[in-house]
Amino acid sequence: MSILVYTESENGKLKKAALEVVSYAKAVADQMGTSVTAVAVNADNAEILGNYGASKVLLVKDDSLKAFNAKKYAAIVDNAANNEGAKVVVVSSSADSKYLAPLLAVSLDAGYVSNVFEAPSSVSPFTVKRTTFTNKAFANTEITTDVKIVGLSNNSFGLVESGGSASVEDFSPSLPDSGVNVESIDKATDKVSIADAEIVVSGGRGLKGPENWGMIEELADVLGAATACSKPVSDLGWRPHSEHVGQTGKPVASNLYIAIGISGAIQHLAGINSSKVKVVINTDPEAPFFKAADYGVVGDAFEVVPKLIEKLKAFKAANA
């Protein structure tokens, strides 16, 4: 019995979240006195998982699996878990992993807890801590089934290099019919996605109009950040819905979240408050966001943001 971890890749390259889930699985394996087996699909650099604690990688190479399919991918992880006799399966909190995990929970007859952000506080009984009530509380949750699935919040555990190496084995389980077929994918390939970003720069109604987003994009560019927006901004059509973060939009769990001209309505804060460090720039010192932020600047975004861009450029140049 090992710990099995599902590692995601994109265009053949393992994602950062994949390294994080392996780091986490290694911590669980150490607690349970066992080893980590990773399963990956069409990853060209699978051997790097050894450095984060995997001793074996089951690698599926199949061109028909280029586009993610929850049912097929769940079957791959299910097969791998059964092959390895895994008692614990670890997945990330990406859109794809959260799509796959409930299907896997049913096929493995495994209890599943999502949004976990710490190593288990105990492995017998198996108890993990997760966020709940949209990050307003934590729940210490026991999984009572024989096989357990842990969904790890992105950016919560970090990467831990252990300097090991992994053997990579070809894996070709039989796959079910897909049931759901991808017709087209519409994805900006040159931009950091909100889910993968370590830094997110977000703009609100205080920016007065879509024509003023140039400086938001420039700031994001300097920081290598993703751009996001508040709900009113997406409702007004200033920015695409895909950038809307908050309770009914995308969740954000970045290391740094910079809110510009966003007052901080409770629905907005609910979606972003698992970000580690929050900076708010707003003209109104009474804006509720100041109560939820770590750093704040009371000032006009049109003066503060260009200055911040300039200072960051100088900082980057000095630290390059």
Binding site: A95, F133, A137, N140, T144, K187, S242, T248, D294, V297
Partner: protein, 248 residues
């Protein structure tokens, strides 16, 4: 087409979150409950199928009698009838199992649930339900069209969206985008009056034990006050982010 919309009865976003019984139970005292926002987008899309394609729309909740006002609200918005499975919603698996029985008994073609509830945020019930009943499944769904037994859906993915084709029976994990915020309906007096006469059937639960259990809840430590930086001293902000927060 027979549609079932799963309705979670959740505390309004502005609710104070407290716990009782030694931090093991959510304190509902003084809390206003609403239809889970992600479910409401799905319910509104279901109304469109009812009005344009002649679908029937039932709503279901797994919970005690205290959730009935939330189901009545769904009826006031336009659902035809409501089902309440009379048991406590203990975990995602147990809820999915109850729903699977309702779907199988009712012969539904399309089940629309929210991608996640805004209280427990598990994001697992729709997928588990699909797995249990062997239906197709699309979550984070921001667009849905049904033609006969074929369906076209748009799924939000990290960094974009994808269009998929699939077929009924189908389970959807819905969210904003299925309909827009401006499409949501506030029940009018006529709807509220009609809702009182619509059937709300209470069914007894099937055997389903939970696979997870909350040992205790905790609240995050209160955060320190915001550190204000003068707008004329942005160098300090950069320095704090680098040296203190260590995020750049």
């Amino acid at each position: 087409m027979k549609i079932l919309v799963c309705i979670s009865h959740v505390p309004d976003t502005t609710s104070k979150i407290n716990f009782t019984e030694g931090d093991t139970k959510f304190d509902t005292n003084g809390v206003q409950f609403v239809i889970n926002p992600n479910d409401e987008f799905g319910l509104t899309r279901a109304m469109w199928f009812k009005e344009k394609q002649g679908a029937s729309v039932d709503v279901v909740n797994v919970g005690g009698a205290e959730t009935e006002p939330t189901l009545r609200k769904a009826l006031a918005i336009g659902a035809d009838s409501a089902i309440r499975v009379n048991t406590e919603a203990t975990d995602g698996f147990a809820v999915a199992k109850q729903l699977a029985k309702v779907v199988n008994d009712g012969g539904y073609d399309l089940v629309i649930a929210g991608r996640e509830s805004i209280d427990y945020n598990g994001a697992m019930v729709p997928g588990m339900l699909a797995g249990m009943i062997g239906a197709n499944f699309v979550t984070n769904c921001i667009g849905l069209e049904v033609d006969g037994t074929s369906a076209k859906a748009i799924r939000e993915i990290d960094g974009g969206k994808e269009t998929v084709s699939t077929s009924l029976p189908l389970v959807i994990g819905g969210q904003k985008g299925l309909v827009e915020e401006s499409d949501l309906r506030i029940p009018n007096m006529r709807g509220i009056m009609m809702a009182r006469k619509k059937p709300l059937t209470v069914v007894e639960p099937t055997d389903a034990s939970a696979e997870t259990k909350v040992v205790s809840f905790e609240k995050p430590a209160p955060r320190g006050a915001v550190k204000l930086v003068d707008a004329d001293n942005i160098d300090e902000l950069v320095s704090l982010l680098h040296n203190e927060a260590k995020v750049i």
